[in-house]
Symmetry: C2
Subunit: 296 residues, 2 copies
């Protein structure tokens, strides 16, 4: 089978009018270029170059091969560009995508200027997009270990209790898990990420909490809390602005700290050097392949 590296050497020899110049242009040793040409000639079973006193010249076969060789290399280059041109499609769960990912993504694209597409939606939708290969990287609050993917914990974000500034707890510096009993908690209903986490953290007290559902987004929850409709548990990062502005009060949970493990998911045969691999390496601060059990 024809070898593109050998073909490239042939073109370099023609263009550089010599083996030495070709070797210099390709960062190879001259003897390697000689090897390449010899193998190319053996492969095509025809002499391609006449080595003569002084310079070199293509044989008729070499002359005929020349445009095809150029086409070959150009096509290979175009293939690389076309494939590399595909944007990195990130799918993130809404609060991750809205509050946490932006800065990471901005600094990533600053160091690695590859086109990216960020899609934000609910956790199940993220999983769905990963499954349907509509996303190259997923960021979500849980992962169900379905096969064909690798999952790593990206960040461990604590949940904080948020109350409106007029709430009785507004002056407190922390909240005990047991304080949550009997209080109306907005969001965090059973089945959601936060809800599951909440019930798990409270243990035996889990069935005595009171949650209100129907509030889709974190933004809606925040508005409801500010309106004094109840308290809530959200990612600390999602309320930094409101806390700074005095619109909301965030209180850490003590006794049973609730940590949300935010996971980064990639399809398992993850080609090394691909945008997805580069982003994962950047986000995790380490190469994903380091912990993968596959050749990537």
């Amino acid at each position: 089978m024809l070898n593109l590296a050998h073909t490239r050497s042939f073109l370099a020899v023609i263009d550089g009018r010599g083996f030495r110049a070709a070797a210099r242009a390709l960062n190879l040793s001259p003897s390697t270029v000689v090897d390449h040409i010899n193998q190319l000639e053996a492969e095509l079973a025809a002499p391609l170059l006449v080595r003569r006193r002084g310079g070199i010249a293509p044989t008729p076969q070499g002359e005929a091969f020349l445009p095809l060789a150029r086409a070959l290399l150009a096509t290979a280059e175009r293939a690389r560009e076309v494939v590399a041109g595909f944007p990195l499609r990130i799918a993130a769960a809404s609060n991750i995508g809205t509050y946490l990912l932006q800065s990471t993504l901005a600094s990533f694209t600053a160091t690695d200027p590859c086109p990216t597409e960020l899609w934000i939606g609910g956790n199940p939708k993220v999983a769905e997009r990963l499954d349907g290969r509509q996303a190259d990287v997923g960021l979500m609050e849980w992962w169900d270990d379905r096969p064909g993917f690798l999952a790593r914990i990206w960040r461990r974000e604590p949940l904080v209790v948020i109350v409106d500034p007029d709430h009785p707890w507004a002056r407190r510096t922390e909240v005990e898990a047991s304080d949550l009993i009997g209080v109306r908690i907005l969001g965090g209903e059973a089945g959601t990420g936060t809800g599951t986490l909440l019930r798990h953290a409270l243990g035996a007290l889990a069935d005595r909490i009171e949650t209100v559902n129907g509030l889709g987004s974190t933004e809606a929850v925040k508005r409801a809390v500010r309106a004094g409709l109840g308290i809530s548990l959200v990612l600390a990062s999602s309320v930094t602005d409101e806390v700074a502005a005095g619109d909301l009060v965030a209180l850490p949970l003590t006794g049973a700290a609730i940590i949300k493990d935010l996971r980064l998911i990639v399809p398992d045969p993850l080609p090394a050097g691909s945008p997805a691999a580069r982003f994962a390496a950047y986000a995790l601060g380490q190469d994903m392949a380091a912990v993968s059990n596959r050749l990537v």
Copy 2:
């Protein structure tokens, strides 16, 4: 650098809708095909195939790569065809080309149907064509060891004395070298292949022979001998027809047999498997590479 063998495996997997079928089609083991796809994905830094329950499917990148991969393989194939389509250009000295080569060439093209071109001319012209790369193989009576070529003795043909049927020697069965003294010999003048050979074989008697020049071709020599203008020394093979028909009498030389070494010449970096190499191997009954000191 992109690898065409890997690319071919990719196409085979797509076309065969699976790794196993691809491996079968390419006479490879399935694990090799897996390797190829993995390396291709690493090379292009993008996933190309989704391995799913049952079958496989190309990713968007794979879909985009597909036509380029096909173009790549098609171009490589066309390159091979174009280069292979060049005819084998044989240049032969006139008597070799006229009397000896025809049968060899005919049986060669019967076993190896590659397009051939036979050019017949004088010995110096043959060397000239080799030097100017207008011939891929040369067949001639001597070789001056110019660099860049390999020479092998193709055949060792004895020269015979030919006389016309009415000549006093016509009833003899052989001729002594010393008999040639004082006899008018047509052709064989100093400087020609036969002339040099003749003088070398006769040794001390060399300066006592009488040659007539001005007869270019062997055919002209034969006509002159039949006309009783003198005798001559020619390749035995060049007069088999006339001897059989009784138009000429051929007599072997004794005492100092004159053997003409017919040489086959090819350019030195002789690509293995090329038409020239195949012809040389066929004509010599052995691979030229076996005695070459180069990688061919």
